[in-house]
């Protein structure tokens, strides 16, 4: 479903408009003074071509409808993700910040690459839709806000881990690293169905064979101290994004040393404290983390 973000506007119209006016004025001058009716009639037809070519796209673009047919649920800031668009008529589409990207042209189902420039949940795309129909003489464009079928969670890029957090667990800058003991970690206590993001090494193959679906091990209690990272973002703006990057860097560093890592974050649905087993899970948690003020 698309929504208007302002009326159609021509793209770089100065040259085409000025050139057309100049050419038609010269034509009219010559035609009128040549005394030739056919030259004048031909000029009138040319005026028709110019009017349709310059203003037709405004109508075409105003009637153009764009929907997002499908999109991935996860992405990473600065990296492109591909969404499938449905466009009702031939035209060109380009993502606008915060999800810019290259232009694609065509009609029907189009694959558009958008590059989210920040972390967080994206539920709408701002798209620049343009058309030069029917003659391709001048492009007109409009901005539409299109709802995504499902939210796109954008993870931050990993920042530099803070070695001090990792080694000492000293609270600083919204991050807290502590040794954690939790009943959910440690000795295996059973199996559960696989969930997206579970590390491959947790897959319990016999149970998987038995049940016919992927099953993973669940730990009963820790056999050793588990690092616990508490992430409290100060805001959902640039500062929060920077903290999330640093947290992700730290988390990945911790995961590299021992797995799992208990992570506490605040999400839209409330506080969440769960172990993170691998980088994918870590990215997902940092994508969903919100600041307390942003709930």
């Amino acid at each position: 479903m698309s929504r208007r973000g302002g009326g159609p506007r021509p793209t770089r119209a100065g040259g085409p408009f000025a050139g057309s006016v100049l050419a038609l004025s010269l034509w009219a001058l010559v035609a009128h003074n040549s005394g030739s009716g056919w030259v004048q009639a031909l000029g009138c037809l040319l005026a028709g071509f110019v009017v349709v070519g310059l203003f037709g796209p405004a109508l075409a673009v105003s009637r153009l409808r764009v929907t997002v047919e499908s999109n991935p649920s996860e992405g990473t800031e600065g990296l492109g993700v591909r969404v499938v668009l449905g466009i009702s008529a031939p035209g060109a589409v380009r993502g606008r910040p915060p999800c810019g990207g290259p232009t694609v042209t065509g009609e029907g189902d189009l694959e558009l690459q958008v590059v989210p420039d920040r972390r967080g949940a994206i539920e709408h795309l701002e798209l620049d839709v343009s058309s030069a129909s029917p003659f391709g003489l001048l492009w007109w464009h409009k901005t539409v806000r299109v709802a995504l079928p499902r939210p796109l969670w954008v993870a931050p890029t990993p920042g530099a881990p803070d070695a001090a957090f990792v080694s000492s667990g000293t609270p600083r800058g919204g991050l807290e690293v502590a040794r954690h003991r939790d009943g959910a970690l440690g000795e295996p206590r059973g199996v559960r169905p696989y969930a997206a993001g579970d590390p491959r090494r947790l897959v319990h193959w016999p149970a998987t064979a038995h049940r016919g679906e992927l099953m993973v091990r669940e730990a009963e209690r820790p056999d050793a101290a588990v690092p616990h990272l508490r992430v409290a973002l100060l805001d959902d703006g640039p500062a929060g994004d920077a903290a999330a990057r640093r947290a992700l860097g730290t988390l990945l560093e911790l995961l590299g040393r021992s797995s799992p890592v208990m992570v506490s974050t605040l999400e839209r649905d409330g506080p969440r404290t769960e172990p993170v087993y691998g980088p994918a899970d870590a990215r997902r948690r940092m994508a969903r983390a919100v600041a307390a003020t942003g709930r």
């Binding site: 034509w27 009219a28 035609a31 009128h32 003074n33 040549s34 005394g35 030739s36 009716g37 056919w38 030259v39 004048q40 009639a41 031909l42 000029g43 009138c44 037809l45 040319l46 005026a47 028709g48 071509f49 009017v51 349709v52 070519g53 037709g56 075409a60 008529a89 031939p90 035209g91 060109a92 042209t105 065509g106 009609e107 029907g108 058309s131 030069a132 129909s133 029917p134 003659f135 391709g136 003489l137 079928p149």
Partner: protein, 686 residues
């Protein structure tokens, strides 16, 4: 970016264009431009043929090499273009200056053709093809400048179609989609509407006096008697045949263009196109004037000096003024002969200059002009007249130098006193206080009491035309009507003369020309007004004083065409078409069966519920998913049951009874409403 890099970037070959439709359209429009130039005489047939063949070969070559452009070819083509420009400037330097458009147009057509044909060998990208499309406009413009009739319309229509297809294909190529017929139709419709609107709004073209007026001769043969009245010998259909020993020459059956104008008989005039005129206003195209009335024929009396004198100089011939009104506004007329004509130079009012490509022109003391050569179809000449158009008040108070006594006698002389005619004229003009009022009163009387017809027997030998017309028949044709007016005016002592020529003809708003046919031949009266000279009066017909606007002309034509439409058959045909269209639309909108309708409703419900119906998914499976997503409340129908019924009807051969179909449709609508409610609830939650 440096200038060099900018130039390089601008000349870098664009991405190869793969659209065959666009390439064909580009070649088509250019070929049409070349053909149009050939049809209008700007290019020779062989030149045009070679150019079109080369254009096709170049287009094929470009298409095959589109992905492997050859930089050296661009260099060769640039050299060829330079040579073409050099040739063009050489040609026009030989011509009579750049103001002579006629001399420039031929080389211009060759230059444009040359450029387009050479360009066709290097059109790898879309930008190059756009240049070809735009370049075809210049060829069409050169051809249009020479087009005089509606025979150019097919070229224009075919070119517009090619442009529509080409531009549509260009857009399709830009956005990697197939061009849509509906878009092309809408675009074409708007284009036609805008074009027609511009044509209606724009003033009619006029010839700039800064340009050299066109003139050329075709089929010219020096006449044995240069100042004599002759034609070139047309066929039996006329409009001209060689002058008879008595000097009679007929054009389209008209006997007026001769030494004497016999008013006793008139043939049926044909509808052959005699000539076209480009003029700034409609007027009578004057050929001859007569001063001597003998009771049945008009003659030109011989003067004391030579009857016809050669006009000195060459084209443009400057004519000595023959009337005091040798001032006034300039009125330019260019005559394009469509049929062989007599050696008469037609003109409006008082001719001042004649652009005529011959050594000599001849002119008599009353301003009639003849050429020393015959004129065939295609001959062109231009006359610049000085037109004095005084209003009624000015004519009523006309004063100034009158005619000299000998001319006064010549233009008031009658073969006999015409007492009855004089009495009638005096009675009609009893209350008129000026010459103009007298003329108008007589015209009005003739309009009320006489009738125009050519269906009358020839006048008996010796009978007086005016007496017969005014007191016996009171019906006749223009020579008799105008002669009667002239004689009545002469009985009142007003100097008059009989003039013959053509009425303006039908104005064509597309070509901006007056199409003059043989049946437009006419005779009218010219009355002398001191200070203003000879002023034309037409007792037979009224003539508009100004150019009709294109809008008025087209509106009039359209109204006339509408009136000729057979209403009932058209309405029936339109009704049948509307019914067929409605059926087609309904058939497309309505699913073929109740089962399909139920399936469509369930799919809509699934979409609204956020369940994207999969392509290969069965309806039953979709029904199960719908029930899971939208659990039916107590008493509500299950989507899976509806789906099962629909599938049984569609694939199991179990026909639904109408009540069952209606009940299932209601149930499906209920599922749809459920899905709508759920979507509303979801939106509210967000």
């Amino acid at each position: 970016m440096s200038v060099l890099r900018r130039i390089r970037a601008a000349n870098a070959p664009g991405p190869p264009e793969h659209s065959v439709v666009l390439r064909i359209a580009a070649a088509w429009t250019v070929a049409l431009g070349i053909a149009a130039c050939a049809a209008e005489g700007e290019l020779g047939a062989s030149t045009a043929g070679v150019a079109i063949v080369a254009l096709g070969a170049g287009s094929v070559f470009s298409y095959r090499r589109r992905s492997r452009p050859m930089p050296w070819l661009k260099l060769v083509l640039a050299v060829v273009a330079v040579v073409a420009f050099w040739w063009f400037f050489f040609q026009i330097s030989k011509a009579n200056g750049v103001t002579n458009l006629g001399a420039v147009e031929g080389p211009l057509a060759v230059l444009f053709t040359w450029i387009q044909v050479t360009h066709a060998f290097d059109v790898p990208s879309r930008r190059d093809l756009a240049f070809s499309l735009a370049g075809s406009v210049t060829l069409m413009a050169v051809a249009a400048a020479q087009a005089l009739d509606m025979g150019f319309a097919p070229f224009v229509l075919a070119w517009v179609a090619g442009m529509l297809v080409g531009l549509g294909a260009m857009w399709g190529s830009m956005c990697a989609s197939r061009p849509r017929a509906a878009s092309a139709l809408v675009g074409g419709g708007v284009l036609a509407a805008v074009g027609a609107g511009c044509l209606l709004v724009l003033p009619a073209p006029s010839v700039s006096s800064r340009l050299v007026f066109p003139s050329s001769l075709a089929g010219d043969v020096s006449l044995a008697s240069p100042a004599g009245l002759e034609g070139t010998g047309g066929g039996a259909t006329l409009p001209v045949r060689a002058g008879s020993p008595s000097g009679r020459s007929t054009v389209g059956g008209y006997l007026g263009f001769a030494g004497p104008l016999d008013t006793a008989l008139r043939g049926t005039l044909g509808d052959q196109l005699v000539f076209r005129v480009r003029a700034s206003r409609p007027t009578f195209w004057l050929a001859e004037s007569f001063d001597d009335w003998n009771g049945q024929s008009w003659l030109e009396t011989a003067g004391p000096g030579p009857e016809w004198r050669a006009v000195p100089g060459g084209s443009p011939f400057g004519l000595a003024p023959v009337a005091p009104s040798a001032s006034g506004t300039e009125d330019v007329q260019t005559f394009y002969l469509a049929e062989p004509g007599p050696n008469l130079i037609f003109h409006a009012e008082v001719a001042d200059q004649v652009w005529f490509p011959a050594d000599r022109l001849y002119m008599d003391r009353d301003g009639d002009i003849r050429s020393g050569t015959s004129m065939g179809p295609g001959s062109i000449y231009t006359v610049v007249s000085l037109v004095e158009t005084p209003g009624a008040a000015a004519l009523a108070g006309a004063s100034g130098p009158g005619l000299d006594p000998s001319d006064l006698a010549r233009f008031t002389e009658l073969p006999h006193p015409y007492p009855r005619v004089a009495a009638l004229a005096r009675r009609i003009t009893a209350h008129a206080t000026s010459t103009e009022a007298q003329v108008l009163a007589l015209e009005a009387w003739m309009g009320r009491h006489t009738r125009y017809t050519t269906d009358i027997p020839p006048l008996a030998r010796g009978a007086d035309t005016v007496e017969e017309f005014l007191f016996v028949e009171r019906r006749g044709y223009c020579e008799q009507i105008s002669t009667s007016l002239a004689v009545m005016l002469r009985t009142l002592g007003i100097p008059t003369r009989e003039a013959t020529g053509y009425v303006p003809g039908q104005y064509n708003p597309i070509t901006d020309l007056y199409d003059v046919e043989a049946k437009d031949a006419h005779a009218w009266v010219q009355v002398w007004f001191p200070g203003y000279g000879w002023q034309s009066f037409d007792p037979t017909a009224q003539v508009a004083a100004v150019n009709p606007s294109p809008a008025a002309t087209i509106g009039h034509e359209a109204l006339g065409a509408l009136r000729r439409i057979p209403v009932l058959p058209s309405a029936l045909a339109a009704g049948v078409l509307a019914m067929v269209a409605a059926l087609v639309v309904l058939r497309r909108r309505r699913p073929a069966t109740e089962a399909a309708a139920l399936g469509a409703t369930l799919e809509r419900a699934a979409r609204r519920a956020g369940l994207e119906p999969g392509g290969p998914e069965s309806l039953a499976s979709l029904g199960v998913r719908l029930d899971a997503a939208l659990p039916p409340a107590e008493g509500e129908p299950a989507a899976s049951l509806i789906a099962a019924a629909a599938e049984a009807a569609a694939f199991g051969g179990r026909a639904m009874s109408p009540p069952e179909a209606a009940a299932l449709a209601r149930a499906a609508a209920s599922v749809l409403r459920r899905a709508r409610r759920r979507r509303g609830a979801r939106a509210g939650a967000r």
